[in-house]
Amino acid sequence: MTWLCDFWRSSVGGKLTMAVTGVLLFLFVVGHLLGNLQLFSEPEHLADYAKLLHREPALLWAVRCVLGGALLLHVVTGIRLARQNRAARPVKYQKEEILVASFASRSMLLTGLTTLGFVVYHLLHFTAGVVHGAGAAKAGKFDGFDVHTMVVRSFENPSIALAYVGFMVVLFFHLAHGIQSFVQTLGLNHARYTPVIRRLSVVVAGLLAGGNILLPLSVLSGIVKVAP
């Protein structure tokens, strides 16, 4: 146990913690998007998918615990590292140039904390169903799994839809830096692949955020409607 604590407390150990938990969260975002895109197929499919996730409560809770634990560790470690970084430069430069650091890389704590806020809001909204009365919409058809109607009813409200778009833009910035960052932190750097990975990082972050943004936008524009 002290071994693990020592590892976590060290600078490189803290970075590796960010990377491993970041990878888990990243993989979750990928899987979550693939599930979400079923909004574009039959409403039954989304309901079946939701039921599939709930079929084995033990498995569902195991996955929730791993992801929740990863998120908690990611946030706690991220805040600790950021505080140490602030303390490491007690006097600021009067004149400071940015040589290569991207906007995304300089706003990781901010985009991360905003994403944390989004995760809490999103869980209250769709998983617990306690905000915007979304729970009532879900309880309709398909044995209480009418996810399609719940999602469409929510995104018909422009302020909810635009809030989701905004949060996804924030997530884009977090991942645009984050993806290539975990590759480097995990010790993978190669003259041939690293430049490609740095560019792919922005592209994949764009696809993930863009894919999610499609949902509220297609409801807002009337492409996806509540099934009759």
Binding site: W3, S10, A88, Q94, A101, S105, Q184, T185, L186, N189
Partner: protein, 265 residues
């Protein structure tokens, strides 16, 4: 040419509670600056004028003045060692600036580098990291035949990239988090690609990181400012090497009380 300088003047050494002390930016006008002067020669001229006027000259660190010792670190216009890439301050020349330029000169800014006076900082934190194991501790005797221990060219090149480090601290000064991981990565990478260095790779990775953390440097966030600022163009690949070596060393670490058949000897 004529330049306007804004230089950090601090008469007393930094302490933990009061890092900046009486420090402030002071403005100086300097005329008749030659294009061919190095940046340090320009500061020499300024100091001669200050001494003539009976003022305290600007304290700055320097030694070889040929770009190999790493002593001359100052931040010029927000960039460690100034605007030319792959260049130390002593090798920076005034032709890199326009006539009438305004130039800001500040010391390295890091909790681990307390200011001694004006632009001179205490960089012994880097020495203490080196003392924690950035060397090969076996006594190898007289130099052996160069071909007795074959090293593949690719490995030798990687080790040499890292060995080019002159320990100036520009990576720390450039890093938004004042992290020294490019420096420590260079030490780890330098030895891990060579057979002589590989013997102690695990203790080295653990001890260097522990020593680095004790000094109060920040943590790398992969922004790569260090690589851009390094006067010797050390690549951030060495930080990936450091991360990998540290993970390997921690995973393979044995509990302190592990019993050995041969005893402790």
């Amino acid at each position: 040419m004529k330049v306007t300088l804004h230089i950090w003047r601090q008469s007393k050494p930094s302490t933990k509670d009061d890092f900046a002390q009486d420090g402030k930016m002071v403005r100086y006008e300097l005329d008749h600056v030659s294009n061919d002067m190095s940046f340090l020669e320009m500061l020499d001229v300024l100091n001669e004028q200050l001494i003539k006027k009976g003022e305290e000259p600007v304290t700055f660190d320097h030694d070889c003045r040929e770009g190999i010792c790493g002593t001359c670190g100052v931040v010029v216009n927000g960039e460690p060692h100034g605007p030319e890439s792959g260049t130390t301050t002593c090798q920076l020349h005034m032709r890199s600036f326009k006539d009438g330029a305004e130039i800001w000169v500040e010391p390295w800014r890091a909790a681990a580098f307390p200011v001694i006076k004006d632009l001179m900082v205490d960089r012994t934190a880097l020495d203490r990291i080196v003392q924690a194991g950035a060397f090969v501790s076996v006594n190898t005797g007289a130099p052996q035949d160069a071909n007795a221990l074959p090293v593949p060219k690719a490995d030798a090149d990687k080790a040499f990239d890292a060995a080019a480090c002159i320990g100036c601290g520009a990576c720390v000064a450039a890093c938004k988090n004042a992290s020294s991981m490019l420096f420590v990565g260079a030490k780890v990478s330098h030895f891990v690609h060579l057979p002589q260095g590989r013997v102690e790779r695990e203790t080295r990775a653990r001890n260097l990181v522990a020593a680095m953390d004790k000094e109060g440097f920040g943590n790398c966030t992969n922004q790569y400012e260090c690589e851009a600022a390094c006067p010797k163009d050390i690549p951030v690949r060495v930080i990936a090497d450091l991360n990998r070596e540290y993970l390997r060393a921690k995973v393979r670490e044995e509990p302190a009380n592990t019993k050995r058949i041969g005893g402790d000897g």
